[in-house]
């Protein structure tokens, strides 16, 4: 005796958020039933395990039928097969495209290729996320990547329009696409302390300021590549460290600025004499680090090491000197501004564009 067939179809498609999450998380039907039983839904609704199993199977089937549509969320809105209220549709899409931070940290900056997909079982064991869920997330990244790769116009907007994602999620995907495209190294041990959100923030900065689209929205080029011209121009910044005069001048300016008596914060900073002193001592090293990063960005390989360089050349020294982020903010502000008043320094625009991003990235990345 067995139930051979068991279906339930509503005119409005019934979808249980909880079961959907379990399905997204890659649970098998039986595991999902166990989780639901533990969740106490049975007592709430006077149901039996049998009922729960039937319901779970049914929901899983519905989700599987919907999955095809979720791959092209725009279709979900004008398909006829399932009658799903708009708020439900939004929920379905948002959750389907949601990802685990721990998973994305593993693949961020990696090439979204078959090879990477093959390694997903390692990622799965490492993160404790089911392989099924890993695959879905990976496929989502890849799908979004493929679609927007070809498109003109602003990256975030494209993602939002094509995949009907909420703003924040669209930004995250933009970051993932951007990282995957530029193959930024994020997996090194030194970078392990950074969360996905840190990288996403940085990606946002880079996209908004360093890509071609950042200069001119009307440009028919893509948001995913860095502005080559700008990278070329960055080489000119080298003068700041190669020119001895300029370097010294810059240093003294920064020191003056920071020691300006009217600035309350400066006073506070000066109070911590050791920080101030070390800063003074390290100025050349730090400045050299930042300018060198800028100068090398023209090489694709160095672009990949952008974040590791930032950490090695700037963040780590500061951390060993026990700067607070307030110190860091102050220092970077003055460091940027004072360059403008240097007599012989001509590359103001490039410098602002470069340092704006560097400053916000470093500030974001400067934590434990």
């Amino acid at each position: 005796m067995s139930v051979e067939l068991d279906v339930f179809v509503g005119n409005t498609t019934i979808m249980d958020k909880e079961v959907y999450q379990l399905w997204l998380n890659g649970y098998t039907v039986n595991d999902a039933v166990k989780v639901r039983i533990e969740g106490g839904v049975m007592e709430e609704c006077e149901a039996s395990a049998e009922v729960l199993l039937s319901d779970t199977m049914d929901q899983y089937r519905t989700f599987q039928m919907c999955e095809r549509l979720l791959h092209h969320p725009a279709k979900l809105a004008n398909q006829l097969l399932f009658q799903i209220p708009p708020d439900r549709q939004a929920m379905l899409i948002e959750r389907y495209y949601a990802f685990d931070d721990s998973f994305v940290r593993e693949v961020l900056g990696k090439k979204l290729s078959k090879g990477t997909k093959k390694d997903l079982d390692d990622v799965s064991t490492k993160t404790g996320i089911t392989l099924k869920s890993c695959r879905r997330q990976f496929d989502n990244f890849k799908r979004v990547f493929k679609v927007v790769e070809e498109l003109k116009g602003p990256l975030v907007e494209n993602i939002r329009q094509h995949f009907l994602l909420p703003d924040q999620l669209a930004r995250d995907y933009a970051a993932i696409v951007f990282f995957a495209n530029n193959r930024f190294e994020t997996g090194k041990k030194k970078l392990q302390y950074l969360t996905f959100q840190d990288f996403a923030f940085c990606a946002g900065q880079l996209i908004n300021n360093w890509t071609l689209g950042a200069v001119d929205n009307m440009m028919e080029d893509m948001d995913v590549d860095l502005d080559k011209e700008f990278l070329q121009d960055l080489k000119d910044l080298k003068i700041l460290i190669t020119d001895k005069d300029l370097l010294d001048q810059h240093k003294s300016r920064v020191n003056n600025e920071t020691s300006h008596p009217l600035s309350l914060v400066c006073n506070a900073l000066r109070g911590k004499t050791n920080v101030f002193n070390e800063m003074e001592a390290n100025f050349k090293n730090l400045s050299r680090g930042l300018v060198n990063i800028a100068a090398k960005l023209i090489n694709a390989k160095d672009v990949r090491d952008f974040f590791i360089d930032l950490v090695e050349k700037f963040i780590e020294p500061c951390r060993s000197d026990k700067w607070t982020s307030i110190d860091m903010n102050l220092y970077l502000t003055h460091y940027t501004n004072s360059a403008h008043i240097l007599d012989t320094f001509k590359h103001h625009a490039v410098w602002t564009r470069y340092m704006g991003v560097i400053k916000s990235c470093i500030l974001r990345m400067y934590h434990d």
């Binding site: 005796m1 067995s2 139930v3 051979e4 067939l5 068991d6 279906v7 339930f8 179809v9 509503g10 005119n11 409005t12 498609t13 019934i14 709430e44 609704c45 006077e46 149901a47 039996s48 049998e50 009922v51 729960l52 039937s54 319901d55 199977m57 049914d58 089937r61 519905t62 599987q64 039928m65 279709k75 809105a77 004008n78 398909q79 006829l80 097969l81 399932f82 009658q83 209220p85 708009p86």
Partner: protein, 1140 residues
């Protein structure tokens, strides 16, 4: 040549990839109607082609328009090989043929393939220009409206209810033709789909003709069914109730609708008065004559029980025949003979004449077959078996001249009809006077190939036989009509069970002979009635007649419960008491009906779904042997179902069943019986007694203890249920009148057929005994299990209610949240199960299904599952299939729920106001009012106040043209404040394009206004949508789909396959409704779901037939928010009405 069909193919989207190389498709479209085909250009390399074709025009007969669907085929062009079909769309253009329904079909329709399912969508525009055909001999019936709804549709008023219409057409099933061996499954499926489309079109046309002949303009409660008889063919049959409907409206324009104008003028009463009443009297000894009659038509096919021994066991014939036959026969003769048949033009149909000329053999055979079935069928109605025998008694039993006179009017009107049947389940107030009880009939037939599809006489004769029987049953109950009537079949191999059931009732004459021109008619009939009454036996009961004489005045809350039969000649043993509401008339102790609970009924507490489930094993047999075996099992099955229902009803402390539907399904090795109904406590009826358990044999103490604990359990359950369903009737002194038939034992027992032997049956007690003596007797351990089974029906979880009727008594404050669903389960049984085991499995299956539903819909709590419609089938030897379609509707718990009488009255008022105050308007109209019609003028507004109190102002939307012309008329009447210029523009625009252009445009603008890319379409099996007003009926939706797969596993197994298919069917229904301009389907039902699988071959096939009414509804809240404009509009219209 009265019609021009125009179609335009606009675009396609989401097409499948047909060319692997390019991942694209070169699509083109073939548009076919009848034998004419048009093609669009090929739109190369696109999955979203924009054909934007010209208008393809088909000039066709309206007969074809009714029969044929428009067939749209989407193909992929292939230069070198044959073009590949992507899929098809069948469009039923019937809704366009009626001026009051839709005027254009426009929208995205799913492209459907029987192998692949939905493959993209196509955007089409379809219109019809219809020229009026006044040919009297025409074969078409355009303009007759069809409604699945089994009540008078919400925005119509019944001018006249004409009565029963039926028709059936037969054909060979393409699946069983020789050609099927060489064609692809796809071709075969498509041939079948197309054939059924054609057949249902033809059927509808033929029924429409009958309606026109009767003088009606609509069919309400239209029920169409398919019998897939396999080798022997395909039968499509339909029944319905012909009516003359009038749009509720104050527009002068509507009064001149061609069909509405004077319905009674050309009305022809079918004149079968002379043969109908006397027919089923089996005055002679039945057995010898039977052989003779059967030889007259298909001796091997019709099956009645042949063993005479069982006849005597069951039928109790001698006793009852003795009682009823003598008095009734003369009365009937006297009544029928004076009716001049020439006076009433006959409504003839091929095949009918022969019947009326040769009644004796035919009918005697029927009454004989009836006899065995009667005992079967009447088991539902307190085992009314006896009553069936005394058929034709109603006229004779009429007591008291006054009452009789009143009765006779309607009765004679009804009796002239061949069958006084009504498929309606809800009635306009005052129509339903009394309810007698459930009448049903079944017969087992052997199928044989239909030799000549044009002469479906055999099938016709089968149904006639059954209908006659039903009619005679109703008569025995003192009723002249059958309401809530339905027919069904169950087929297994070559055996077919035909079933019909309904509720015997007495109806008011109001809706059957009203109308200005009918008075004459009635007058001429009255003397007849008096005459016939005079000749009747009056000896019986002057007393009771005095009490019954003025029943028409009786309060509507209890009137329908009062017995229609004569209390001294009760056709079956029952306990009568004085009505607990009015205390003046007699009521029975229990009432079973197939209709919906009348809105005006006084109900105490809430109702609930009650199901009796039964499984019986049967030996495998062939042909006649099989049929005999089945027909001998049927009575037991029905009796036990009835007992189960009764027990469960008592267990819930209720006293009446509504919407009773008994389904018997036959398989090779078993019979399934499922009876569903909604139990309620009618305030008018006496409170049901409890259930008592008695041990048959005195035995040891443990046994006694066991019984007492059981008894306690039962009592507790009853108490709990009373609390749950809020049944707390006012205590009253009881006065039991008692049944005149001697009661040898004051109890009935719970029988199980396997323990039944013939001697037990013969001592079978038909009475249910005194009120508190409803006894379950335990004589063996099986009985204990039965009682357990009785108690295992788990109560509905908190917050849930369920019923299989339209509304749930005691719940009124519905919210707008509704969720229609279909759930299907197939259960595989192990071989060699006992009846007991089978029963339990079947019962659990149903219970678990319900539990699953409750769980699924838990987010809607508090809610009620309404119209829970279970369908059982035995698709294969060891499979049981249960399909449920229902709607879950949430309600507001916050508002206090009234109880008892109060609530009854409230519902009544509600119902009346809902019926009368049809304040309808159309969004579209609104827009027009504001945009290019300066009618929302101050004058209109100023009159709002005065007209608010006026009764029922409403607007008609029959068609744009109509409306405009009537607007113009009004404007002419009172053209002071209105700028004529703009109005004139409108009218000239309308003249330029008589029907659809203006409308389609406004429709489309409407739709785009709604914003969402896919319009939401609500579906419900009910006839209404809570919190909304239906403002227009767009036509009937009747769709048939076949889906087949040869990659079952890949499609997610059987469940995945069926899940997709059902979802696809829903999607197609929604799309077609949206294309008609509608936003909901009401009275939706899935009438057929035949699922076959062959997992070994990785194959499965499924057939689904769905139907419903496409409507436009408007939320009441929206009505309010835009009421200012409406008011101004309606004010104008009502003014117009007064002006003329």
């Amino acid at each position: 040549m009265p019609g021009k069909l125009k179609a335009k193919i606009v675009a396609g989207r989401h097409l499948p990839v047909m060319d692997r190389a390019s991942d694209l498709t070169d699509a083109f479209v073939e548009v076919k109607f009848g034998n004419t085909t048009f093609k669009t250009d090929v739109y190369p390399k696109s999955l979203n082609p924009q054909w934007n074709s010209e208008w393809f025009k088909f000039e066709v007969d309206d007969e074809d328009l009714q029969d044929e669907p428009l067939q749209i085929t989407v193909l992929d062009h292939d230069t070198y090989s044959a073009n590949d079909a992507i899929g098809k769309v069948y469009i039923d253009i019937d809704p366009l043929l009626c001026s009051e329904a839709a005027t254009v079909i426009s929208g995205w329709l799913p492209i459907y393939d029987t192998i692949h399912g939905i493959r993209g969508e196509i955007n089409v525009l379809v219109k019809v220009d219809l020229f009026n055909d006044l040919n009297r001999f025409r074969q078409s019936s355009c303009g007759v409206k069809f409604f699945c709804t089994t009540s008078i549709p919400r925005c119509y008023r019944a001018v006249m209810v004409h009565g029963f219409v039926e028709e059936l057409v037969v054909n060979e099933d393409p699946e069983y033709q020789w050609i099927d061996r060489i064609r692809t499954p796809r071709a075969s499926n498509e041939a079948r789909q197309r054939l059924i489309f054609l057949m249902s079109g033809e059927l509808q046309r033929k029924i429409g003709l009958k309606v026109l002949e009767m003088g009606g303009n609509a069919v309400v409660g239209y029920l169409q069914c398919f019998d897939l008889e396999g080798e022997s063919g395909l039968v499509v049959r339909a029944i319905g109730t012909a009516c003359t409907l009038e749009k509720i409206s104050t527009f002068p324009a509507t009064a001149t609708h061609p069909n509405n104008s004077s319905p009674s003028k050309d009305m022809k009463e079918p004149g079968f008065g002379e043969e109908a009443p006397g027919v089923p009297l089996s005055s002679g000894p039945p057995t010898p004559l039977r052989a003779q009659t059967f030889s007259s038509f298909s001796p091997s096919k019709s099956y009645s029980r042949q063993s005479s021994s069982s006849d005597t066991e069951l039928s109790l014939t001698p006793k009852t025949v003795g009682i009823f036959l003598c008095p009734s026969t003369p009365a009937l003769e006297s009544e029928s003979s004076p009716l001049p048949s020439a006076h009433l033009p006959c409504h003839l149909r091929p095949g009918m004449a022969s019947r009326s000329t040769t009644p004796p053999p035919l009918h005697i055979s029927q009454s004989d077959t009836a006899m065995l079935r009667k005992s079967v069928s009447f088991s539902e109605e307190l085992l009314l078996a006896v009553s069936g025998m005394g058929s034709g008694g109603s006229a004779g039993k009429e007591a008291g001249p006054l009452k009789a006179l009143l009765r006779q009017q309607t009765q004679s009107a009804l009796e002239q009809r061949e069958y006084p049947f009504f498929t309606l389940t809800a009635f306009p107030p005052g129509f339903l006077l009394h309810v007698g009880g459930v009448v049903s009939a079944r017969s087992v037939k052997l199928l044989d190939r239909i030799h000549n599809p044009d002469e479906p006489e055999t099938r016709d004769a089968w149904w006639e036989e059954i209908r006659q029987e039903i009619k005679s049953h109703a008569k025995a109950l003192g009723c002249h009509a059958v309401v809530g009537y339905s027919e069904s079949t169950s087929i297994c191999e070559e055996v077919c069970i035909l079933s019909a059931s309904g509720t015997a009732a007495v109806l008011s004459s109001r809706f059957m002979q009203d109308g200005p021109l009918d008075t004459e008619h009635r007058l001429s009939r009255q003397p007849l009635c008096v005459f016939s009454t005079g000749s009747e036996r009056v000896e019986g009961d002057m007393g009771s007649s005095a009490s019954l004489g003025f029943e028409e005045v009786v309060s509507p809350g209890c009137g329908f419960c009062h017995i229609p039969y004569d209390e001294l000649n009760i056709p079956f043993p029952a306990q009568l008491t004085y009505c607990y509401c009015c205390r003046r008339y007699k009521v029975p102790d229990v009432l079973f009906t197939t209709i919906d609970l009348p809105t005006e009924a006084n109900v105490t507490g809430k109702g609930c779904l009650i199901q009796a489930r039964l499984c019986r094993t049967k030996k495998k047999a062939q042909g006649e042997g099989n049929a005999t075996a089945i027909s001998s099992l049927l009575p037991f099955l029905e009796y036990e179902l009835h007992t189960q229902l009764m027990n469960k009803l008592k267990l819930r402390g209720m006293n009446a069943l509504f919407g009773l539907r008994i389904q018997i399904s036959v398989g090779e090795t078993m019979l399934l019986g499922l009876a569903s109904a909604t139990g309620v406590y009618l305030t008018a009826l006496p409170s049901p007694g409890g259930i008592q358990i008695a041990g048959k044999t005195p035995s040891d103490i443990t046994y006694e203890q066991h019984i007492s604990t059981m008894q306690k359990k039962i009592n507790d359950t009853i108490d709990k249920n009373k609390e749950l369903y809020e049944i707390n009737p006012p205590e009253v002194v009881e006065e039991i009148i008692g049944s005149p038939i001697p009661e040898p034992r004051q109890r009935s027992r719970l029988f199980r057929s396997h323990s039944e032997s013939s001697d037990e049956v013969s001592e079978l007690d038909l009475s249910h005994g005194k009120k508190d003596a409803f006894v379950l007797e335990i004589d063996d351990t099986d009985a204990v299990e039965d009682i357990h089974a009785l108690l295992t029906d788990s109560p509905t979880p908190a917050g849930f209610y369920s019923c299989n009727t339209e509304i749930m008594p005691g719940i009124q404050n519905w919210t707008s949240a509704i969720q229609m669903f279909t759930s299907v389960r197939v259960f595989r049984l192990n071989a060699n199960l006992t009846n007991q085991g089978l029963n339990k499995i079947f019962s659990d299956l149903c219970e678990n299904l319900l539990k699953s539903l409750y769980f699924k819909l838990r987010s809607m709590v508090p809610c009620c599952l309404c119209h829970l419609n279970f369908t059982v089938a035995i698709p294969e030897d060891e499979l049981i299939q249960v399909a449920v379609t229902a709607v879950a509707m949430s309600f507001d718990k916050e508002q206090p729920l009234e109880n008892g009488k109060q609530s009854g009255e409230k519902t009544l008022i509600k119902a009346i106001t809902e019926n009368d105050e049809q304040l309808q308007f159309n969004l579209e109209l609104n827009a027009e009012t504001s945009s290019h019609n300066p009618l929302s003028s101050p004058k209109g507004l100023s009159e709002v106040g005065s007209h608010l109190s006026a009764r029922a102002p409403s607007v008609d939307y029959s068609s744009f043209a109509d409306r405009c012309s009537s607007w113009i008329e009004q404007l002419k009447l009172k053209a002071h404040t209105i700028r004529r210029g703009s109005v004139k523009t409108t009218s000239s625009l309308e003249k330029a394009s008589p029907l659809p252009e203006g409308r389609s445009r406004s429709l489309r603008s409407n739709r785009s206004y709604s914003g969402s890319s896919v319009a939401v379409v609500k579906m419900t099996p009910l006839s209404f949508i809570p919190g909304a007003k239906i403002i227009k009926y767009l036509g009937i939706i009747n769709m048939f789909f076949i889906r087949e797969t040869s990659s079952l596993r890949e499609e997610g197994g059987v469940s995945g396959f069926l899940h997709t298919f059902i979802a696809e069917v829903f999607a197609m229904v929604r799309a077609h409704v949206a294309a008609l301009g509608g936003n909901a389907v009401v009275s939706y039902s899935m009438k057929e779901c035949v699922f076959m699988e062959n997992p070994n071959k990785n194959q499965a096939q499924c057939l689904i037939n769905v139907s419903g009414d496409a409507v436009i509804f408007v939320r009441e809240s929206e009505l309010e928010s835009t009421s200012v404009q409406t008011q101004s509009a309606t004010t104008h219209t009502s003014n117009g009405g007064e002006g003329t």
